[in-house]
Structures are given as C-alpha cells and as structure tokens.
C-alpha cells in the first residue's frame, strides 16, 4: 500500500501513515503564475493499492481539483486500487435543494469522485444522515463521537451526573442520542436554531427537551464550527438557563471569519475539535484543544 497526501492537511496524512508504519509517498506540486496547479507523483504505483488523503475544506475548490488530479494520476499510472480519504467533505451542507433553481453541489462532487473510478471513500461525520445514500461506491463513514466520549470520560469522570449533552440544533438529534449511548445514557437536550434563508442569519432562543435535564455542566456536540455563531448562541442560551460550565466538542473546525477570536472571548470553557481539517497556527486559541482522528482512520486502511 502506498499513501499520498494532497496539500490540504499533510500533518494528518503523516500521522495516519505513521500509525500504519509507512512513509508518505510524496507529490510534487507546482503552482503556475496564473494559479493553475500541476501535480506529479514521486513514487511508482503500478499494481499498488493506493490511498490519497485530502480533506476538502477551505479553499474548497482548489482542494477538490487537486484531489481529482491526484486520482487521475494514480489511475493513469496503473494503481490497482484507489482509496480516497476525505475527512472533511466540502460542500456537504449543500446536500439538497433549499429553494428552486439551486444546485446540489455535494452531489456534483460525489458524482465526479465516482466518475473517476475510485474504489472506496472514507469520510468522517458527514453533515446529514442522508449523505451516505448519495454514494454508489463503498463508503466508510467514521465518527469522532467515540473520541469525544472517551475524552469526556477521562476528563470529567465522576462529574457526569451534573452534566447534560446538548445538540445546538434539531438537525443533530441523531448525533446527540448516539453520544448519549456512548456515555451510558447521559441525558440530552437540544437548542433550536432558526435560519432566515434570505439573510442567512441564525437565531437560537428555545430549548427542546425536559428543562429538568438542564444541569450545571453542558457538553455541546456538533459536526462542524464555521463562523462559530451557532455554537456561541447555543452556549449563551444554556447560560441563561443556569448552566455554569460549557464544553464544546466539534469534529470539523472550519473556523471561517473571526471564529477563533469569537470562541475565545465567549462564555465557552473549552473547544475540542479534531484534526480532520488542518488548523493553521494563526487560528489556534487558548481554549482550543485538538484531538486526532489519525488512528481511527488508519484502522480502516
């Protein structure tokens, strides 16, 4: 097996390779003055099982196109199989038509990946439960929930009776109930998010679930943080309802706009994320803790 990495999250690729006792095969990447990218595999792949690791987070278009080029090069160079690891799958929030005249951008990306004759795809915490149904090729859908529940158990053991799991919106109910199962039935509630489709503005000011479940400590669990607005509004509503400590567990740290600064100055105690997406140094902040998905991914390769 040979493992290649696109340019979007090399540190994660290196960790995954290390877990497998392998070295990353390198790719030469040249960016032309006009912005076109050109790649060249620096390792032979004839009759090899190959893996390419490339989360398609920001800059999403560039990362997807680089991934397509790498797959094309692997195929044309005689790889026996190509497994694509996309820890964060870009465009996954555009998974259905919200209003007439829109594209289903996620499905376009999946169709293109499939048209390139890949053998398997590995993704982590996809945004909705319907997304796996889009795939016609084997999909390994991993979840960081087990990493989060292990972290909660080790950091907060003995305090769980004072705690409640929280989904920031109703779309995360399945996720939060799964987390509850992993934590021996820890109670859960959800805050309710309303989004104005025209302005994109969100409002969170309602809690769904038995108010008696609200405890001293809350663990907000979600699949991604983008601008941070949802997470922070959810936390503020919990605080208004008497929650004292708030910890956030989120798989994909997209961190657009000034999310790191907003999260740091918020009432949230700590933000746990994974390394599914590369987080550059300038987006690190004191309350941030990064957990690795490398071992979990390596076990599926």
């Amino acid at each position: 097996m040979k493992i290649f990495s696109g340019s979007s999250n090399k540190p994660l690729s290196e960790k995954i390779a290390k877990h497998l006792g392998l070295k990353l095969s390198t790719i030469e990447l040249h960016v032309f003055p006009d912005g076109e990218r050109r790649i060249k595999l620096n390792d032979t792949v004839v009759d090899e099982n190959t893996v390419v690791i490339q989360p398609t987070a920001t800059p999403v278009d560039q990362n997807y196109i680089e991934l397509f080029f790498i797959i094309d090069a692997l195929r044309r160079s005689g790889a026996r199989s190509v497994c694509v690891v996309v820890p964060y799958l870009g465009y996954q929030r555009q998974d259905h038509i919200f209003r007439d005249g829109e594209s289903v951008s996620l499905q376009v990306m999946i169709k293109l990946l499939e048209s390139m004759h890949i053998d398997k795809i590995i993704a982590v915490d996809l945004h909705s439960i319907k997304i796996p149904e889009f795939f016609h090729i084997p999909l390994v859908h991993l979840s960081a929930l087990s990493i989060f529940s292990d972290t909660i158990k080790s950091l907060f053991s003995g305090f769980v009776n004072d705690s409640v799991l929280v989904s920031p919106d109703m779309g995360g109910l399945r996720r939060i109930s799964e987390a509850s199962e992993l934590l021996s039935g820890l109670p859960w509630i959800s805050t309710v998010k309303d989004r104005d489709l025209d302005t994109g503005k969100i409002v969170i000011n309602k809690i769904e679930g038995d108010p008696s479940k609200i405890k001293k400590r809350a663990f907000i669990i979600d699949d991604m943080i983008s601008s941070g607005g949802t997470t922070i509004q959810s936390a503020e509503l919990l605080r208004r309802n008497g929650v004292e400590e708030i910890y956030v567990f989120v798989t994909h740290a997209i961190f657009s706009e000034d999310a790191p600064a907003q999260l740091q100055k918020s009432i949230i105690n700590k933000v746990f994320v994974t390394d599914s997406v590369f987080i550059p140094k300038e987006k690190h902040f004191e309350k941030l803790e990064i957990l690795s998905i490398a071992q979990m991914v390596s076990e599926k390769l």
Binding site: F32, D34, G35, K40, D61, I65, R76, Q94, E102, V108
Partner: protein, 316 residues
C-alpha cells in the same frame, strides 16, 4: 411566458456575458454567491424548464473557483429541467495540461473536460482551445471557434506592409499560417526552442526558420501567460533584423510580471480578445488593444439555437 433561451454567467467574465446578452437582446442571470467559508452557492431565479440554457464562463483565474461555478450552474440548470445546457467556455483553464508529458502526472485538462460533461453539459463551446485533440476527451459535441474572427479585421485595419507572421513555438505554426493567409502576409517565420519538461515555465535556447530582415512581424499565439516565451521570441526576432514586432493573441492571462515585460519590450502593439476579464492595468495599457469576441459568441449562440452550420463564415 416561457423564455426561448436563458443566459447565465458566473464571476469570471460577467462583462463579456453582458455584451453577448446585449447583442442577443436578452438578460443575463448572474446567480453566484459565496458562503463565509468560501463555498460557492448558485441560485438561478428563472424558470428553465424545457429551455436551452447557455452558461458563459471562461475558466480563467481564479481557475478552480471558475470551474466549480460552471459545474454548479450546469447542475442547477439540469435539476430545473433545462432541455439543453451549452457550456460557453471562451478560455478553457488547464488546457495546456493536455497530455502525459512525463510519467505519473494527470491529464488535467481531460479531468476538467470530463467534470463538465459528467455534470450534465450537453455541449461545450471554446475559442482557440490550446490543442484541438482535447475535443476528444468527452463524448458530447465540442465546437471550437477562433479568435481570429475578431482579431483579423482589427489587424487588417492597421494596414501593416511587409508583413511576416511568426509563431513563437513549433505548436503554433498552423495558427500562424492561417493568419498569414487571412492577412495576405508575405510569409511565415517560426521561432523554436527546446522547452524543458520540468514542472515550471522555464525555457529556452532559440533558433528560427524564415527571414524577417526589414519586415514588420506579427507574432500569433493562443495564450499570453507570463509573456516569457513570446517576449523572448520578440527580442530574438528583433535581433534577426525585424523592423517592428506586434502580437496577436486570443487569451491574455497577463500573469506574474507580464505587464512589466511588455513595458520594457520592443513590442509595439498587442492585439488580444476579451475572452478573459482584464484587470484595469491591462485595460489602461496603451500597447494593448482589446478586441471583443462578443459578436462571435452571440452569433454562435444564434446558430446553436437555429441549427445553422457553425463553420459557415464563423470559423476563419
């Protein structure tokens, strides 16, 4: 009432799209917006059911975003039951990565062409695609028009005497002979080099075939990128006795320090089309004359709709 056809454009060259729309007496929809994390969003407000949709989108810098915008517009049109979806791509990004010139590289242009076809386009239309063999990458109709349709009348109006048309490399000889014929030039010259196939733009030791002594030379090529190859050819032609050097190019990328090179060069005039939306520095440059291909593309759209031959009078 249902429209007979619909025009869409992304962010890569709305100016050209609006000019085409004006010639066709139509509105052009600009349905692209961007989410805070950089993801593209498309929403086309028009009813597209049973309608021929034309998407005008050169895949010029920012090339990757331009490509994705095109794909999502195609997808949105398809999901809205458009009857035909023509991708009008005056400049086709990645078209220079059209072959496997060393081991273990992709054929990037083929990847892009297949993405466009697999997204649901029923037809592709380009202008001076870098190599015509690329039309075979996909199994949908792919028409290729020539920028010469717009450039030749402009160059003719300059009434250049003692004209020799030169190609700056071996690949451009066919285009150069075409221009020479259309312009009634005295002959053709070929400048050639040994390009290395490393992962960069480096060239070159030059030589030439033909005689340019005391002649006015017009170098023709499809793309001006950083201008390195073409400017070197211009310098070389001057050293071989050319009286003046002009350039005719279809696509102007003007990457890197291209404008500085042009300023310092011995090139008198550059004729270029508006296939790529130009930054103000290019528009203001006195050496650069931009000629619009909007009429060519408007006529092509009319012919696609009417079923007339594309080659008649449009392909020079």
């Amino acid at each position: 009432m249902k429209e007979d056809f619909i025009l869409l454009t992304g962010r890569s060259n709305p100016k050209l799209a609006r000019e085409i729309a004006k010639l066709l007496k139509k509105e052009v929809h600009e349905p692209i917006s961007i989410f805070s994390d950089g993801e593209i969003r498309v929403r086309i407000p028009a009813n597209m059911r049973n309608t021929h949709v034309f998407i005008i989108q050169p895949t010029a810098p920012l090339v990757n975003d331009s490509i994705m915008e095109l794909l999502f517009m195609i997808d949105a049109a398809k999901r809205s039951s458009a009857s035909n979806i023509s991708a009008i791509i005056p400049y086709f990004g990645y078209s220079r990565q059209d072959r496997k010139e060393m081991p273990r590289v992709p054929i990037s242009s083929s990847v892009i062409a297949n993405m466009i076809s697999n997204s649901g386009a029923t037809q592709i239309l380009t202008v001076d695609i870098h190599s015509q063999q690329q039309q075979g990458f996909v199994h949908i109709p792919w028409d290729n028009l020539y920028g010469s349709y717009a450039l030749i009348p402009e160059i003719k109006s300059q009434k250049i005497d003692n004209l020799i048309v030169a190609s700056p490399d071996k690949g451009g000889l066919i285009q150069a002979t075409g221009y020479a014929k259309l312009l009634g030039a005295q002959g053709v010259a070929l400048v050639f080099k040994e390009r290395d196939v490393e992962l960069n733009n480096k060239s070159e030791v030059l030589d030439m075939i033909g005689d340019v002594k005391g002649k006015n030379v017009l170098i023709v090529d499809d793309i001006l990128d950083t201008g390195g190859t073409i400017m070197n050819a211009a310098i070389f032609l001057k050293s071989q006795g050319a009286k003046s050097v002009r350039l005719a190019l279809t696509h102007g990328l003007f990457s890197g320090n291209a404008l500085d090179k042009i300023k310092d060069s011995a090139v008198d005039k550059i004729f270029i089309t508006d296939s790529i939306n130009q930054k103000p520095e290019v528009l203001k440059n006195k050496k650069i004359r931009i000629v619009s291909i909007s009429q060519l593309l408007a006529k092509a759209i009319e012919r696609i709709l009417s079923g007339e031959s594309m080659s008649k009078d449009l392909i020079l």
